[in-house]
Amino acid sequence: MNRAQLVIPFFSRLPPIVWALLLTVAFGALYNPQFRTADNAMNVLEQSATLAFLALGQAFVIAGGLIDLSVGQLVGLVTVVACMGFEALPGWGLPVILGCLFLGAVVGAINGTLINHLRMPPLILTFGMLSVLQGCIFMLTDRSVGSSIPAIDFLAHGRVAGIPASLILVILATVIAFYCLQRSTFGWHLLAMGNNATASRKAGLNVRGLTLIAYSVSGFFAAIAGLVLAGRLGTGFPNAGSGLELDSIVAVVLGGTPLKGGRVNVVSVLAAVFFLGTVSNLLNLMQVPTFTQILIKGIIVILAILLERPRWAAAPQ
């Protein structure tokens, strides 16, 4: 058996986003000498951590046929609250961190509970929550406040044997998300709900419980992302999370998850996060103007949403 027979089936089975990532990396490595340094590669991986956590959380929600638009502002809120907490309570680093994680999960649980009991479309509810959280942030502060602590700095910038600490945490989170979504009963139930919520409810699944858990997980992951971002910025910046909700949705969609739910591939989602990070890094190194980068980002969003189009979609929505 020659090598091609082994190699070609392996590559043809790779999800498209992994191809896109490999091609982008190959292009960058060929044409940009700054891009192909190990230092730059580690930087990209480190900078992608915030979005990686958000996208993993968003994957739980979207897999269940729901959506969470509030995660961006939740990241901002956690960043501000954490930095204010670190400054106000020196020596209480761990309780503040745990408190922030709890805050994220609670906001997620509020989203889930309201969706369950008001029976509202998740889009409107979490869109409203986005505005509510934004208001909460600006009631706390209208400028950068507080400061980070060494432990959080290490999480954002630290290296363990040359590997970014944040990358290790991202991989850990990915493994957990993979197990929960693709290898556990909970994951099967969540995907079943994404496929057909009514049928799942009639089959005896606890649809409300699944919704609640999915949003709590999304909020929890958003809180981790907020803490990592606090370490990267070193201060609580109120607008830190603006627009991140869209980035996370784009990453999940690029990772091959239909917006209607029912299917998910956690590793592809992570590949999509690194793809977005690599593209942004490459555009920076090629000195593409900021405004052109914004345009390119918008086009990627539109292409991603057009490519995910399921053939069985019934109506324009």
């Binding site: 509202m120 409107i124 600006f138 914004i294 949403i305 057009l306 324009p316 929505q317």
Partner: protein
């Protein structure tokens, strides 16, 4: 206002929901009435004609934009790109005017065309791509924002024509602000489109039940594309109204406006349920939103609290309308 088309959609559904339907239509007007009385207790100024005219004038940019978005939302869609289109329109209008009086109508024409073109792009992508309008229009807003920043280099440019702001900010007979009249005209045009044209009726049918509408031979794709065009066109007009109010104030004056527009439309009862609501209710929704925000201002609440209030209004209004729509015994989830 605009009851005809909505009513026929109601009878089509063959449910005894007439009273429920009326309640759904009337809810926002009742809220507006109560809010005005409450505002009257806070300060008599709220009930004076001068204030009411001012209120409608203030609301004009958001209100005009909301008229267009209403059509999209009756169709079960949403248009989040309107904030970016408003910014783009204000920038383009000022650039084309270039401080010359003879460019006025050219500028208005160009602005309307570019707004409609963005709407056309939204409509084509959504109707033929069959994708989530929420995410697609969010993406489109980034594209439009990027284009505007690239075109201007990030700094405010352009000069408005002489007399443009003076005329639109003036008052007829020292009472009725011209911008308020523009808003009212936009509402009347919207109500006319919605109740008197085939397109308006089709919007309700497609929104109420896309599959049934398609089987009945209603051109769903065409209706969708036109609806997004209308939304883009009204956002263009909203941008001109904003330019009249604020002048050349930056490259992104419409930032975040999609929130207010969405809140106003949902308040009016045009929720994502499809086939419900209308331009008349949106008008009332816009007024409720602005009186509520004005009251928050009078009460001394900071801007941040107003953001939270807006979010709560979006959630509460949508939940309330969902509840009214359900309370007749229809328990399908």
């Amino acid at each position: 206002m605009g009851g005809g088309a909505a009513m026929s959609a109601g009878t089509l559904a063959k449910r005894p929901l007439l009273s429920r339907h009326l309640l759904d239509k009337a809810a926002v007007w009742i809220v507006l009435f109560i809010l005005l009385i409450a505002a009257g207790f806070v300060s008599e100024a709220f009930l004076k004609l001068n204030y009411l005219g001012n209120l409608v004038r203030q609301a004009a940019p958001i209100g005009i934009t909301a008229v267009g978005v209403t059509f999209v939302m009756i169709l079960r869609g949403v248009d989040l790109s309107v904030g970016a289109i408003v910014s783009m329109s204000a920038v383009i209008c000022a650039l084309v005017m270039d401080g010359k009086a003879e460019n006025l109508w050219l500028a208005i024409g160009v602005t309307c065309v570019t707004g409609s073109l963005i709407g056309l792009a939204n409509g084509l992508l959504i109707a033929y791509g069959r994708v989530s309008s929420f995410i697609l229009t969010l993406g489109m807003s980034i594209v439009v924002y990027g284009l505007v920043q690239m075109g201007t280099g990030g700094t405010a440019r352009g000069i408005v024509s002489p007399g443009f702001r003076e005329f639109l900010n003036g008052r007829i007979g020292n009472v009725l602000p011209v911008l308020a009249i523009c808003f009212l005209v936009a509402v009347i045009v919207g109500v006319f489109i919605q109740s008197q044209t085939r397109f308006g009726r089709n919007v309700y049918h497609v929104g109420a039940n896309p599959e049934a509408a398609r089987l009945a031979g209603i051109p769903a794709v065409q209706t969708t594309v036109i609806a997004y065009c209308v939304s883009g066109l009204f956002a263009g007009l909203g941008g001109i109204a904003l330019l009249a109010r604020t002048g050349v104030s930056g490259t992104n004056p419409g930032a975040g406006m999609e929130f207010d527009v969405l809140a106003a439309v949902i308040l009016g009862g045009t929720t994502f349920a499809g086939g419900r609501g209308g331009v008349g209710s949106t008008f009332a929704g816009v007024l409720v939103l602005f009186i509520a925000l004005n009251l928050a201002n009078v009460a001394g609440l900071p801007f941040a609290a107003q953001l939270t209030i807006k979010g709560i209004i979006i959630i509460a209004a949508s939940a309330a309308h969902a509840w009214i729509g359900r309370s007749g015994g229809d328990r399908t989830e």
